[in-house]
C-alpha cells in the first residue's frame, strides 16, 4: 500500500485555534464537501525506535512513524552488534536504552501523522488525530492541521474528505495539554477509535484517559507485559468496551487452519479425545499462545485446572466434563531471526488418544515452516495418524491489520476474543494461587 498524502501541507496552528479552523474548513456552499460521516481514528504514534535511529544518525530522517524494512534491518543488525541476545525484540527497552546513549538532540523533520496508508484512507476516516510524543523531554505542544481527500478508483464517486490533526510534544505536555485538545476535537455523533501503536506498559496515564472515554481500542498485546495486557483486556470486556488486539488478529491463520482440519465430519471425534497440546512460540511474550489455548479450551468446553512454570515452559492443565485431563504446554523456542512481534506462535501439536494402540491415535501438527513440523513430529509422532500442515506466519503490516479491523468491526469486541480473554485471565490468575 502506498502512503496517502494530504492535500495541503499541514498548517501549524496554535491549539486554541484548531477547533475553529476545522469548523470553518467544512463550511462550504457545496453540501457534499462537508466531510466524511464515518469515524475518528486517534493514533498513539511514539515511533521510539525510529526516533532513536534518526537521532543517532543511523538512518536519515524525516521521522515518518512507519516501520520500514530499513528500520527493521538496522535494528536487527544493532541487536547483534551490541551483543544483545538474538531473540531480543526490536521494540525492547534494552535496545532503546542503548540507542539513547548517543542521541544528537538535533531537530529532525517529523512527518508523523502526515502519512497514512491508503488501506486506512480508503475507509474515509472523518478525522485522524496523531499523538506524536517526542524523545526530547522539553518539547512544547505543537499542533498541525490538514485536509485530505483520498482518490477513489471509482471516478464517478464524489471524493469523501476528512481532516487530520497532529499533536506533537513531549509525553508530559501531551498529557497536560494534548488530551484537552483531543477533548475539544471529538465529534460527538461519530464513533472514535484509538490505535495504541506502542508499548502498553508506557504512558499509562494517557492510555487510561482514552479507556475512560469509552473509545474503541486497537492494541497489540505482543507489545507489553502479559500482566498489564491482560488487565487492559479484562477491564475492557468487563466494562463492555470494544477492544481489538493485533496479536489476536495475527492468530487468525492458526485458528482457521486448526478449524479446517476438523471440518470433515469423519475427523470430529478426534476433538473429544484430545490429551495433549503443545504450542511452540518464539521466545518472548507468551500471551498469543495463551490466547490460542484459551480459544481452543473455550470452544471445546474444557475447565481450567492448574498452571505451572517449569523454567521457561508454561504448563496448563484442563479437565473435560467427563473428568479426563488435558495437558497443554507453551514452549518458548530460541530463533535466529525472530519476527518483529514478540512471542509469535510458530508451531502447534495436538494429540488425541482414542485407544491404547498408538497407531489408532491422532497427532495434528501445524508449523509455520516444514522444519518446525519436523521438529514437532519427533518423539514417535509418526506412529500415530498424522495430520500435518504448514501455516506460514506471513504478517501483513499493522496498518493493514488496523484497516481490516476498522472496516469489518461491528463496534464491539469479537465474541470469540471475549471468551478467549475470560479463559486467559482465569489461567493467568492461576499463577498466583
Amino acid at each position: 500500500m502506498k502512503p496517502q498524502l494530504t492535500l495541503q501541507t499541514p498548517l501549524e496552528l496554535p491549539h486554541q485555534e484548531i477547533t475553529n479552523y476545522l469548523n470553518q474548513l467544512w463550511i462550504s456552499e457545496d453540501e457534499d464537501s462537508s466531510g466524511a460521516n464515518t469515524f475518528t481514528l486517534m493514533v498513539w504514534q511514539p515511533a521510539w525506535l525510529e526516533q532513536c535511529l534518526v537521532q543517532s544518525g543511523l538512518i536519515s530522517g524525516p521521522i515518518t512513524g512507519t516501520l520500514s524494512p530499513e528500520i527493521i534491518k538496522i535494528a536487527k543488525n544493532l541487536i547483534i552488534d551490541k551483543g544483545l541476545s538474538h531473540t531480543t525484540s526490536i521494540y525492547s527497552e534494552e535496545l532503546l536504552t542503548l540507542l539513547k546513549e548517543n542521541l544528537s538532540n538535533n531537530d529532525f523533520e517529523d512527518f508523523r501523522g502526515q502519512f497514512f496508508e491508503s488501506s486506512i484512507s480508503t475507509l474515509n476516516p472523518r478525522r485522524l488525530i496523531t499523538l506524536a510524543p517526542t524523545l526530547n523531554k522539553e518539547s512544547e505542544i505543537k499542533t498541525f492541521v490538514s485536509a485530505y481527500c483520498p482518490l477513489s478508483e471509482n471516478t464517478i464517486t464524489q471524493p469523501i474528505c476528512g481532516d487530520l490533526v497532529v499533536i506533537r510534544g513531549d509525553s508530559n505536555s501531551i498529557k497536560k495539554k494534548g488530551l484537552k485538545i483531543i477533548d475539544d476535537l471529538s465529534i460527538k455523533d461519530l464513533p472514535s477509535w484509538l490505535w495504541w501503536n506502542g508499548n502498553l506498559d508506557e504512558s499509562q496515564e494517557i492510555f487510561n484517559y482514552f479507556t475512560d472515554q469509552g473509545i474503541r481500542l486497537i492494541i497489540d498485546t505482543a507489545n507489553g507485559s502479559p500482566k498489564r495486557c491482560l488487565k487492559i483486556l479484562y477491564q475492557s470486556i468487563k466494562l463492555n468496551k470494544a477492544i481489538n488486539d493485533l496479536n489476536w488478529v495475527r492468530l487468525k491463520s492458526w485458528r482457521e487452519s486448526l478449524a479446517m482440519i476438523f471440518d470433515p465430519p469423519s475427523r470430529r471425534p478426534v476433538l473429544d479425545h484430545i490429551s495433549d497440546i503443545d504450542v511452540d512460540i518464539a521466545e518472548g511474550n507468551f500471551l498469543q499462545a495463551l490466547l490460542l489455548i484459551s480459544w481452543i479450551s473455550d470452544k471445546l468446553k474444557w475447565e481450567f485446572s492448574k498452571i505451572d512454570k517449569h523454567g521457561e515452559l508454561i504448563k496448563i492443565e484442563f479437565k473435560r466434563n467427563n473428568g479426563e485431563k488435558i495437558s497443554t504446554c507453551i514452549n518458548p523456542v530460541p530463533l535466529g531471526n525472530p519476527s518483529i512481534h514478540s512471542g509469535q506462535v510458530i508451531g502447534l501439536r495436538l494429540i488425541s488418544k482414542i485407544s491404547e494402540v498408538r497407531k489408532n491415535n491422532t497427532c495434528v501438527i501445524l508449523g509455520c515452516e516444514s522444519v518446525e513440523c519436523m521438529r514437532l513430529e519427533a518423539g514417535g509422532m509418526a506412529d500415530m495418524q498424522l495430520i500435518e500442515q504448514v501455516v506460514p506466519n506471513a504478517f501483513s503490516s499493522s496498518e493493514s491489520d488496523v484497516s481490516n479491523l476498522l472496516g469489518s468491526s461491528r463496534g464491539n469486541t469479537s465474541p470469540l476474543f471475549e471468551n478467549a480473554i475470560k479463559v486467559a485471565v482465569q489461567i493467568f490468575n492461576g499463577f498466583n494461587k
Partner: protein, 507 residues
C-alpha cells in the same frame, strides 16, 4: 463433551458482512415465493445474526391484511422451520409489517410511501430501502414506474430494486423492459436475481477455475472436447401450470439458470474480483455464444414434453393431463440444445445444455470432457480408455469428481477409469446456505456481483432468439417429442449428441 455434529472450532470463525440498516419491501408478499423462499432466507440471516437491529420487512400485496395477519400467515406457513427456533421467530417477527398495495394504483403507492417513512423512523432504517418485485413479470415495468413516480427510488445510494426472473419473454421484450427499468432507476440500483448464482457450488466454479493453477491452462479448446450442462427435476408442473404454459423449459430454465452456468464455466478470468469486472466477462462470453446451427436451428435443439409414466404403485400423469394445462399444449417441459462460443478459448467446442421436468433425478451438473490421448499405448479393461472428465455437481451431493485412467492391478498393463472425489458434505460437513440467503444479503449490501446485468440478460435472450422465433413462427419444425415420465427425455435428445459421437452422461 462438545457436540461433534458441527465443528466446534469453526463456530464464530466465519466473518460475514453485516447488512446495513435496511427496510426490505416485498411486493407479492401473499405469493408462494415469499413464504417458500424469501422469509425463510431472511429468518436464516437473522439466525446467523446478520440482520441489524435497525431493520424492517414490509410485505405488500393486494390482500387487505394487517401487520398481525402477515405475521400469523408467515408463522403458519413456516411452522416447520420455526419449530426449533420459536423464541427467535418471535423476535424476528417484530421486523414484519404489512401494507395492502396495488402497484397499479398511484394512491396506494403514495400511501405506501408514507407508511415507509413511519417505519423508517420507528425502526431507524436510515432511509435504506430494497424493493423486491416478486410479482407477475407483466408488472415489472409498471411497478418500477410507480416506485419512481412516488419518489421511492430517487436516491441511487439508498434504494435498490430486486427483480425476479423471467426478465422479458424474448430479446425484444427484455430490451424494452430494460429500457423502462433503466428510465426509472440507475443500472447500479437494479438487481436481476437468478437464484442459481446464489448457489455455493456455482460460485465455486469461479474459485476452482481462478484460485488454482492446474485448471485454467487446460480449460480451453486445446484440451476440452465438449461440455454438458444439465439441470433436471423430478417434479412435474405441479400448481404452476398457469405460468408454465406460457413459459416452458426454454424461458423457465434454459435462458436463465443454464445460461448463467454456461457463462460462469466459459468466461475469461476477470482482472479483479469486482462486480463489474466479473459481469463484463460473463456478458462477453454470452455475446460470443451462438446456437450450433443458427440458420437451421431445428438441427441443434430438441424439445420434449413428459407423458404419463411411473409404476403400479405411483402413476404419474402426462403433462397434458395436469390441472390447468391445455389438452393440446405444445409447451416444452424438456429442452436440449447445442451451443458454440465464438472466441479464442472455445472455438469449436460444443456446449450441450439440457433441462427438463419429470426426469429420473433432481440434479444440476456441469461435465467437462477432455480430449482423447493422442496415442493409446495401453489396452483398456473396458472397450476404449474413457476420456478424462471433470464433473462439477451443483446439486445434490454438491462437489466435484475427476475421472482419469490408472493401471488396472494385475500383471498386464491395462488401464481402467477411477474417480477422485470432492464432496462438500465430507469436506465441510455443514449444509451451505440456500441461494436466496446469499442473494438477499448481497442485494441489501449493494453487492451486484451475483446478479445479472442488462447486457447479460439481453445477450442470453439473443442467443435463443432463432429458437424462439422458430417455436412461434414454424413450430412444426421444432416438434414436441413425448417422453415417458421419469426417463431421461426423448430419444431424439440422445441423437443430438450421437451425431457428434458423444453421449449424455447418465448421472
Amino acid at each position: 463433551m462438545p457436540s461433534t455434529l458441527s465443528n466446534p472450532l469453526r463456530l464464530g470463525l466465519r466473518q460475514e458482512r453485516v447488512i446495513p440498516p435496511q427496510c426490505l419491501i416485498i411486493f407479492g408478499a401473499s405469493g408462494d415465493l415469499t413464504h417458500r423462499k424469501l422469509i425463510p432466507a431472511l429468518f436464516e440471516l437473522y439466525l446467523q445474526r446478520r440482520i441489524p437491529s435497525e431493520f424492517a420487512i414490509v410485505g405488500c400485496a393486494r390482500r387487505p391484511w394487517s401487520d398481525q395477519d402477515f405475521k400469523e400467515k408467515m408463522k403458519t406457513k413456516l411452522a416447520d422451520q420455526i419449530s426449533e427456533n420459536e423464541k427467535e421467530w418471535e423476535q424476528f417477527s417484530n421486523y414484519l409489517f404489512y401494507e395492502p398495495v396495488d402497484l397499479q394504483q398511484s394512491d396506494h403507492v403514495v400511501r405506501l410511501s408514507k407508511r415507509l417513512n413511519e417505519i423508517d423512523k420507528i425502526q431507524a432504517t436510515h432511509g435504506n430501502k430494497t424493493f423486491y418485485l416478486s410479482v407477475s413479470p407483466n408488472f415489472y415495468g409498471s411497478g418500477c414506474k410507480a416506485l419512481k413516480a412516488a419518489g421511492l427510488i430517487d436516491d441511487p445510494k439508498k434504494s435498490r430494486i430486486v427483480i425476479e426472473k423471467p426478465f422479458g419473454r424474448d430479446y425484444s421484450s427484455a430490451k424494452k423492459l430494460n429500457k423502462i427499468v433503466q428510465s426509472c432507476a440507475d443500472e447500479s440500483q437494479i438487481y436481476r436475481i437468478d437464484h442459481y448464482l446464489g448457489k455455493e457450488t456455482v460460485q465455486n466454479i469461479l474459485v476452482m477455475r481462478f484460485a488454482n493453477t492446474i485448471f485454467e491452462p487446460i480449460w480451453n479448446r486445446n484440451y476440452i472436447s465438449s461440455v454438458q450442462i444439465t439441470s433436471s427435476e423430478t417434479v412435474g408442473v405441479e400448481d404452476r401450470a398457469g405460468y408454465y404454459e406460457s413459459s416452458g423449459a426454454l424461458r423457465d430454465m434454459l435462458q436463465n439458470h443454464l445460461t448463467q452456468m454456461l457463462a460462469v464455466t466459459a468466461m475469461e478470468p476477470p482482472g479483479k474480483f469486482e462486480p463489474e469486472a466479473i459481469r463484463n466477462e460473463k456478458a462477453k462470453v454470452l455475446q460470443a455464444s451462438k446456437l450450433a446451427d443458427e440458420n437451421e436451428p431445428w438441427n441443434c435443439c430438441i424439445r420434449g414434453q413428459y407423458a404419463k409414466g411411473g409404476n403400479s404403485l405411483k402413476r404419474l400423469k402426462g403433462y397434458r393431463d395436469e390441472d390447468g394445462v391445455n389438452l393440446n399444449s405444445t409447451t416444452e417441459t424438456y429442452i436440449a440444445t447445442k451451443v458454440f462460443i465464438d472466441n479464442w478459448r472455445w472455438q469449436g467446442v460444443p456446449f450441450y445444455l439440457r433441462t427438463g421436468k419429470r426426469l429420473p433425478k433432481r440434479l444440476g451438473e456441469i461435465v467437462l470432457t477432455f480430449k482423447d490421448v493422442p496415442v493409446h499405448l495401453f489396452e483398456s479393461t473396458i472397450i476404449n480408455p474413457a476420456p478424462n472428465q471433470l464433473i462439477l455437481r451443483i446439486q445434490p451431493n454438491e462437489g466435484a469428481t475427476f475421472k482419469f485412467e490408472v493401471k488396472s492391478p494385475g500383471s498386464g498393463m491395462k488401464s481402467r477409469p477411477v474417480e477422485m472425489e470432492f464432496s462438500y458434505d465430507e469436506s465441510f460437513g455443514e449444509p451451505s446456505d440456500e441461494g436466496y440467503v446469499r442473494l438477499l444479503a448481497d442485494a441489501m449490501l449493494s453487492d451486484p456481483t451475483l446478479f445479472t446485468r442488462s447486457d447479460e440478460v439481453e445477450a442470453a435472450w439473443k442467443l435463443y432468439t432463432p429458437l424462439i422465433e422458430l417455436m412461434e413462427d414454424s413450430p412444426w419444425k421444432l416438434p414436441i417429442h413425448k417422453y415417458e415420465s421419469m426417463t431421461w427425455g426423448p430419444p431424439e435428445s440422445d441423437q443430438l449428441l450421437s451425431k457428434d459421437n458423444i453421449f449424455w452422461r447418465r448421472p
